[in-house]
């Protein structure tokens, strides 16, 4: 079923000869039957020169991810439950920073917000246009949970679209996140059930 749907609704794709197409589809059929989950994902290609976005607090991703090895989904906890990854609630930050590194200026900044009962006005870095329906949860499910991909390495999957955030302080857009970017990946990963139907993403 999965395969069939992919065939009929490939609303996108590059020109290729009918023969090649047929052969390709044959391969798809067999392969997806044999080892449905055992696929290595082809990461989308493309780079983007994102400008530096000044944030209320220069949140150092590198320290949290690289040095302290905190999992992305620990803070961006909505990613697996919702279409948006979400910004961690201030309470979560304070969970640790009531005690940790309280002497650091940035932490004091944070604490100030906390005491004023005002969440920091974070700026959006990664965004898709409002007419696009993108869900983090489905991508995580297909790319990670369904493939028994080790959760601790989730950052490799996040990196597909967000780049290596572990090496940034304030996150910075390094992938184009435009239609071509999405489409190329969806075509490459058809066998993971990446849909080609326009209405899957356009709303």
């Amino acid at each position: 079923m999965v395969v069939k749907n992919r065939l009929i609704n490939s609303g996108t794709g590059f020109a290729r000869t009918g023969l090649a197409g047929m052969v390709f589809l044959m391969m798809l059929l067999m392969s997806s039957m044999v080892m449905a989950t055992k696929y290595d994902v082809v990461a989308p290609s493309g780079t983007h020169e994102g400008e530096d976005v000044p944030q209320p607090i220069d949140f150092p991703h590198d320290i949290h991810v690289k040095d302290n090895g905190i999992n992305c989904m620990y803070c961006h906890t909505y990613a697996r439950r919702s279409k948006v990854a979400g910004i961690p609630p201030t309470s979560k930050c304070m969970g640790c920073h009531k005690v940790i590194a309280t002497d650091k200026p940035r932490i004091q900044q944070l604490t100030k917000y906390w005491e004023d009962k005002e969440p920091p006005p974070w700026k959006k870095v990664h965004d898709v246009p409002d007419f696009v329906h993108f869900t983090h949860e489905k991508h995580l499910k297909t790319l990670m949970f369904d493939r028994e991909f080790p959760v601790e390495n989730v950052k490799e999957i996040c990196a597909f679209c967000h780049g290596e955030v572990e090496n940034m302080t304030v996150a910075n857009k390094v992938k184009p996140l435009n239609m071509g970017f999405c489409v190329s990946c969806h075509i490459e990963n058809k066998d993971l059930g990446a849909p080609g139907d326009c209405w899957k993403c356009h709303k």
Binding site: E51, S82, K83, V84, G86, P89, K123, K124, D130, K173
Partner: protein, 737 residues
């Protein structure tokens, strides 16, 4: 309190992640290049477990768009309420919601909402602070006492109503004017006299046949959604219900009748008596319990006479009467056009009598039972209070009046002279959401929360099988910091009078929590704690109340013989409609743009007239005409419709606002303005349907904003099968229904 803090925190409006507020990028350039860091994304301070950004959450509350008090579910996302649906847990509307309810959000987000308190300085209303406003109010209220102070509201129920009553007797006053244009006041009186209950429970779904004398129960009625739901059952019953509608202007209900009979306006009582005489004298139904004078009255109305007076064919009357006896239990209903006659009481009584004769009482008209919290029950309005109010005002009997949820300046006929009388009232306070006519006439304006921002309880007057108290809770944070909830305002006013008694309640929320806690165990259905009961109530949006079982009495009161108004001219039918209703919703664009169900006109007023009547006066479709009564005249366009009696013209309510925001202002005309001030002797209700008018053509045909019917083809199916119609026999055969 803490519970509340959390609540507010999760009601916080978040960053609108993809809220569709930005354009689609359909404009050029065709691909949106998103700049990073332009949009804010606000995170929660402390999230509730069940609130996930990007996922809509549904909260139960209660609709206050009309007096029906349907339960609603509001879809909240990122702290904004987006869409209202019916609440499946409330029996009144179980899961359904009418167009007015749907448009509730537009009232809430309306650009013309009043955002700050205003006080009249010099000629105009100037913004002031709450402190100032309340200070002045306290002083004014201090200066007045007894009946020189009054509240003027629309139908009101629940704990707000309780507080209001308490405030009245804190002011040692007992003048509370309750005014509704769309009302069933006369029927309530008649029911009270004949059945012993003002609001018995109508069971359309149990009836095998309904004869409705202009009762638009699915349209502008006391509980449209509830009766529409009952109608659906009525139609889908094993034995499909038969609906006969007798009226002089086709209503929404009439347009769904199996048999629609046009009757000469004002002669409904005669028809009822005629049917009674058929039933008693021809078909020999028992006349037990009918007072002798009524019995003799009935005998005067033989079929031929009735047919002559009403203009309804005799054989039709006979057939319908015959069917009524065959299709038992049936239900006979009297509508606003019957109640709103010079002899409204008598006419309504005559019609209700048929239910007695046919033995419908107790079968399709049930007792609503004993509601355990009488103080919470709805104070339903009528027009009698409007008359009383304008008299009091004219007689300079009022010093301070507080208006809420009603717009008398707009709804009162000129003949009542209210507009002038308003100036006789020393100090007029309007607790209002929109700058409507009354609010603009007030000296002090207090901005009130929309019902989607406010706490409260509503008790529907027309309860469904299971009686209930409906809970109203804020679905989002206040749009404007300056507005206050009605309950909170009432509470503040009470604190001004009875500090000691009400000081304990920090705000209306606290009061409600207290009141709920105080409720008897019977309604708490074994909730462990008060909090649990409270949360359950918020979740379901309703508290089921056991009203026990009582029986209705079935008597017939003696009523005056119908007097035919022989004066010439056409009778004006000021028809309310689902949508703009009595004009209160004229500021909701969705409802302005929703075509009138029958004439399909939008954004305007029009006068409906039968083609023959038009032909007689040389008036064509869409001509500009002047409709004049003794009280004045309005000029508007004609729509020729066959769903009219030749002696009647109908002008829909709702338009003709001089204020009430950008969407309402300056559109169409207000037929209420030209009504006579005659009242029904027995109930004092305005006889809204007895005004005689003349129609004169003053201009050529021109376009009226109607759904496109340029070639006139739009009115009929020109042989295509768009809406197929089949006889009921065929359906019985195929579907066995």
């Amino acid at each position: 309190m803490s519970g509340k803090m959390n609540r507010r925190s999760f009601l916080k409006v978040m960053g609108w992640s993809g809220a569709g507020v930005a354009l689609t990028g359909c404009d050029m350039p065709s691909t949106v290049t998103l700049e990073e860091g332009k949009e804010d994304v606000v995170s929660y301070l402390m999230p509730e477990e069940y609130v996930i950004p990007g996922v809509g959450v549904w909260y139960a509350s209660t609709c206050t768009q009309c007096a029906a008090g349907c339960g609603i579910h509001g879809r909240v996302r990122e702290g904004r309420v987006l869409k209202l649906e019916g609440n499946p847990d409330t029996a009144v509307n179980n899961g359904k919601l009418c167009m007015m309810g749907q448009a509730g959000v537009q009232g809430h987000y309306n650009p013309d909402r009043i955002t700050t308190p205003m006080m009249r300085s010099g000629g105009s209303l100037e913004p002031v602070s709450w402190e100032k406003a309340l200070g002045v109010l306290e002083e004014k209220l201090g200066a007045v006492s007894g009946d020189r102070f009054a509240w003027f509201t629309g139908s009101i129920s629940g704990h707000q109503s309780v507080l209001l009553t308490n405030h009245l007797d804190a002011m040692a006053s007992n003048t509370h004017y309750v005014h509704e244009v769309v009302n069933n006041a006369v029927s309530r009186t008649v029911n009270q006299d004949m059945l012993g209950e003002a609001n018995p429970r109508l069971r359309l779904d149990k009836a095998k046949m309904i004869v409705s004398f202009g009762a638009d129960f699915m349209g502008a009625s006391q509980s449209p959604v509830q009766y529409a739901g009952q109608y659906a059952k009525f139609r889908t019953n094993k034995e499909r219900g038969l609906l006969v509608q007798v009226e002089s202007k086709m209503s929404l209900t009439g347009s769904n009748a199996d048999l629609w009979l046009a009757i000469k306006p004002g002669t409904e009582a005669v028809l009822a008596l005629g049917m009674a005489s058929l039933l008693l004298n021809k078909i020999k139904v028992s006349d037990a319990g009918i007072p002798s004078d009524v019995r003799t009255l009935i005998n005067d109305y033989d079929i031929s006479k009735v047919a002559r007076i009403t203009g309804v064919a005799g054989d039709r009357i006979q057939r319908v009467s015959q069917l009524l006896t065959e299709r038992s239990p049936s239900l006979v209903l009297a509508g606003a056009n019957v109640e709103g006659q010079a002899q409204g009481y008598a006419a309504t009584a005559a019609i209700m009598m048929l239910n007695h004769i046919l033995g419908n009482v107790g079968r399709t008209i049930e007792s609503a039972g004993e509601f355990p919290f009488p103080q919470l029950m709805a104070k339903q309005g009528g027009t009698a209070d409007l008359v009383a109010f304008s008299e009091a005002a004219t007689a300079k009997k009022l010093d301070v009046v507080i208006f809420h949820g009603s717009n008398p300046v707009y709804t009162a006929p000129k003949s009542l002279g209210l507009t002038e009388a308003m100036s006789n009232i020393g100090f007029k306070v309007a607790i209002s959401q929109f700058p409507d006519e009354t609010t603009m006439a007030a000296d002090l304006v207090l901005p009130v929360d929309s019902y989607l921002e406010d706490w409260g309880t509503q008790v529907p007057a027309d309860q469904a099988e299971a009686s209930a108290i409906h809970v109203q809770q804020p679905l989002m944070e206040k749009l404007n910091a300056e507005t206050k909830g009605l309950g909170d305002i009432l509470l503040t006013l009470l604190k001004q009078r009875r500090k000691d008694e009400y000081a304990q309640f920090e705000d209306y929320y606290a009061y409600l929590r207290h009141a709920f806690a105080a409720m008897p165990m019977s309604v708490k259905n074994d909730a462990k704690s008060n909090d649990e009961f409270w949360n359950a109530a918020l979740q379901t949006g309703a508290i089921k109340v056991d009203v026990g079982v009582t029986d209705l009495q079935s008597t017939v009161v003696s009523f005056a013989a119908p007097v035919m108004d022989s004066s010439d001219g056409l009778t004006l039918v000021p028809s309310p409609r689902l949508g703009l209703f009595d004009g209160r919703h004229a500021n909701l664009p969705w409802l302005q743009e929703a075509p009138d169900q029958i004439s399909k006109v939008v954004w305007d007023s029009w006068v409906e007239m039968h083609p023959t009547t038009g032909a007689k006066m040389g008036i064509g479709n869409l001509d500009l005409v002047k409709v004049s009564s003794a009280q004045g005249s309005v000029t508007l366009r004609v729509v020729l419709l066959k769903g009219m009696h030749a002696d009647a013209v109908a002008i829909p309510l709702g338009q003709g606002h001089e204020a009430h925001g950008r969407y309402a202002k300056g559109l169409g005309v207000n037929p209420l303005q030209i009504l006579d001030a005659t009242t029904d002797s027995k109930t004092g209700e305005l006889a809204m349907y007895s005004t005689r008018v003349t129609v004169k053509r003053v201009g050529p045909a021109d376009s009226l904003s109607m759904v496109r019917m340029g070639t006139g083809g739009g009115d009929n199916q020109v042989g295509r099968k768009l809406v197929g119609t089949v006889p009921v026999e065929q359906v019985r055969r195929t579907e066995g229904t």
